[in-house]
């Protein structure tokens, strides 16, 4: 009966209750969606780091990572692979050769890390081959009489391997993507011209479009006008095992785009045998062994196992390789909890205020209830339940609204192309797919109930202090 009465009491002043419920709804919706957004961003960054950059565990020669010295390598790569492969929980193992050097074209040059790989074996660990920009080539699949290099989009831009042009095909694609006719008409004025770099293209487009048009369609136009210079070449210069400078010309095998500027700018992939041949390194010597495991939760125990087998080598798991990522994933739930806690604390003040008004307005009734025998515990429970009902009703509405929005946005993602440059500089994609776990909703529900209970304490104590004889006389 107390439950029923409390629920009915919530609707005694509909407008006031609806205002409180609406504020809780908006607060919870904002919290849930923001957390889903952050969660999606972190999850995408995590997946990208593991699947495209570092995998789960890496083995290098002692202090190789610290000194980046190519002379620190492992002689018996195959032996290590055989030993590691049979450790329970290890899924795939690949070896890499790594040297530093300069990549250059006729107009630009840049310092890079050159990584020797076995493309077929790498596919079993990394998904870089899935991130090739259409039309830019493939993942070492075609036969070529030239040496091939697989590079990132940002290095391609840096070396002027890409160009910009607005031809008929680009204009037609823009039309399909609902770019207004007047903009397409303006772009026709530069049709046929080729721009050697992004800066020149941007400068020209800026001169023919309005600010508003640029803001709305600038990024899309840039994405569509971008093209790869077929059969582009670049020179790689590095030191061989005897410290002699070696240069060789490479054709671009393909260009990958993983939305991580630093990685894209600094990594160049070649076949292992090409590095062996050019540097004189032994075929069986490697700088790095990369390991993928079946369950990431075992990464620390497997790392320890490998360390005990190879005490002379550096063995690092993903947490040690990217401590910032480890911190985010380890504390992400505490951060979400804290974030929701702040939102709920703010909402709690609104609920306290409302419940104080409720107690003030119902002084006479509360006095009567005490007079006829409703004890303090039950009076407290009734006020508390009203507060919990207010918060939980708004909370559920907010969670449903958040959940629906997450489902709707998770399909196509939310595109922040205007901030792409900044976000990709930190390794984050500008195309976010919000996601959230069921356990988060459970946590939010518990937090909402706690908020309701905590918010009711002060008003309920006020109600308990009422003197029934005086309260009944209240007008």
């Amino acid at each position: 009966m107390i439950l029923k009465t409390a629920w009915k009491n919530v609707w005694r002043n509909r407008v006031r209750s609806l205002v409180v419920i609406a504020s809780v709804t908006v607060g919870i919706f904002a919290g849930v969606f923001s957390v889903a957004f952050m969660n999606g961003m972190i999850a995408q960054r995590f997946d990208a780091a593991i699947d495209e950059e570092i995998s789960h565990i890496q083995i290098t020669g002692k202090d190789y990572v610290l000194n980046n010295d190519p002379s620190i390598y492992m002689n018996s790569g195959d032996g290590i692979v055989q030993t590691v492969s049979v450790i329970p929980g290890v899924e795939q193992v690949v070896v890499r050769k790594m040297i530093t050097g300069m990549a250059g074209t006729a107009s630009k040059s840049a310092g890079v890390q050159i990584i020797g790989i076995d493309p077929d074996a790498e596919k079993r660990i990394f998904k870089l081959y899935k991130t090739i920009i259409p039309g830019t080539g493939d993942y070492f699949e075609r036969e070529s009489k030239y040496e091939l290099a697989f590079i990132g989009q940002d290095l391609a831009k840096e070396l002027n391997i890409i160009r910009f042009s607005v031809d008929i095909t680009v204009l037609s694609r823009l039309g399909e993507k609902e770019v207004p006719v007047e903009i397409i008409h303006k772009l026709k004025s530069i049709s046929g011209r080729r721009f050697p770099n992004e800066k020149k293209f941007t400068s020209t487009v800026t001169s023919i479009l309005t600010k508003r048009e640029l803001k709305e369609y600038g990024q899309l136009i840039k994405e569509e006008a971008w093209s790869y210079r077929e059969n582009s070449r670049m020179t790689l210069t590095f030191l061989d095992k005897d410290n002699n400078q070696v240069s060789s010309v490479f054709r671009i095998a393909g260009i990958f785009d993983i939305k991580n500027t630093m990685f894209e700018q600094s990594q160049v992939f070649l076949r292992n045998e090409v590095i062996s041949r050019l540097t004189g390194m032994d075929e069986s010597s490697f700088h790095q062994v990369v390991i993928r495991i079946t369950d990431i939760r075992n990464s620390e125990s497997i790392t320890e196992d490998i360390r005990s087998r190879f005490p002379e080598l550096d063995v690092k798991n993903w947490k040690e390789l990217q401590p910032d990522l480890a911190m985010m994933t380890d504390y992400v739930h505490q951060i979400y909890g804290f974030f929701m806690g702040i939102i709920l604390a703010a909402l709690a003040f609104g609920i306290i205020n409302t419940m104080l008004m409720v107690v003030l307005e119902r002084t006479k009734e509360l006095g009567m209830l005490t007079a006829i025998g409703m004890n303090k515990r039950k009076v407290f429970s009734m006020i508390m339940l009203e507060s919990v009902f207010l918060s939980i009703t708004g909370g559920i509405a907010g969670m449903i609204a958040g959940w629906i929005t997450i489902i709707l946005t998770a399909k196509k993602g939310i595109n922040f192309t205007q901030y792409a440059e900044g976000m990709e500089a930190f390794g984050y994609s500008a195309h976010i797919f919000p996601e959230i776990s069921t356990s988060f909703f459970v946590m939010v529900t518990v937090l909402i109930i706690i908020t309701g209970v905590v918010s009711s304490v002060y008003p309920a104590l006020k109600a308990l202090k009422l003197d029934p004889a005086e309260a009944i006389r209240t007008e």
Binding site: M1, I2, K4, T5, K8, N9, W11, R12, K364, E365, M368, L369, T370, A371, I372, G373, M374, N375, K376, K378, P468, A469, I472
Partner: protein
């Protein structure tokens, strides 16, 4: 059988400058099935006396003994529980819970006492029938007239089968017809359920129907007339 006894009860309100002796050395006894009215001019101490009898307020001195229990010996929580089980209240302004129906208002106190659903339903139906509102059981107080609301309040007061019912000016807000109906119902219940009714009142109709009339003047019992 004696159910209520007041022994030399005093109630003094101490203000910053003035001390008010609201109840002055009152000693009274009430027996089962009495229908008693406490009358007196405004400020004579009727409501204060009723609050003391109902355990809503504590006397400055003296004792109030209900069915062998001295109220002053009970802790606050015990007193609330004691009130629930032994005393029914009818207030001048009805004081029903506006969000509950007539049936739910009557049931409320029984649910506090954890009566079973079947027992609650039976007792509620019985009482609402007794006060002539069984057909308005599902109406909220706002849909009932003042007289009907006060009849629901009487049913609620009797719900937990108390030793006695205290009614503070129960007819003060009612028209003549409603007041007469209410008094007839209360007298009938007093007779049938053997429950003592104690009213504080100004209403001559109540006084006329009362079997016992206690007159208070300046907080003291001036007369205590028992009618046959």
């Amino acid at each position: 059988m004696k159910i209520l006894e007041l022994k030399n009860v005093n109630k003094i309100y101490n203000g910053s400058e003035v001390h008010v002796h609201a109840v002055n050395d009152v000693s009274l006894e009430f027996r089962e099935a009495e229908f008693a009215a406490i009358v007196g001019p405004s400020g004579s101490g009727k409501t204060t006396l009723l609050n003391l009898i109902g355990g809503l307020d504590m006397p400055t001195s003296g004792s109030i003994i209900i069915d062998g229990t001295d109220l002053s010996k009970l802790k606050s929580s015990q007193l609330i529980d004691f009130r629930m089980r032994n005393i029914g209240f009818v207030f001048q302004a009805y004081n029903l819970i506006p969000v509950l129906t007539a049936r739910e208002n009557v049931e409320f106190i029984m649910s506090l006492q954890k009566w079973s659903k079947r027992e609650r339903d039976e007792r509620t139906f019985e009482l609402l029938k007794a006060v002539g509102l069984d057909e308005r059981a599902d109406s909220r107080p706002s849909k009932l007239s003042g007289g009907q609301q006060q009849r629901v309040a009487v049913a609620r007061a009797l719900a937990s089968k108390p030793k006695f019912v205290l009614a503070d000016e129960p007819t003060a807000n009612l028209d003549s017809k409603s007041a007469t109906t209410l008094l007839e119902i209360m007298e009938k219940l007093n007779h049938e359920e053997k429950i003592t009714f104690i009213f504080s009142t100004h209403d001559p109709r109540v006084v006329k129907m009362a079997h016992r009339v206690i007159t208070l003047v300046d907080g003291s019992v001036a007369t205590d007339e028992i009618r046959e």
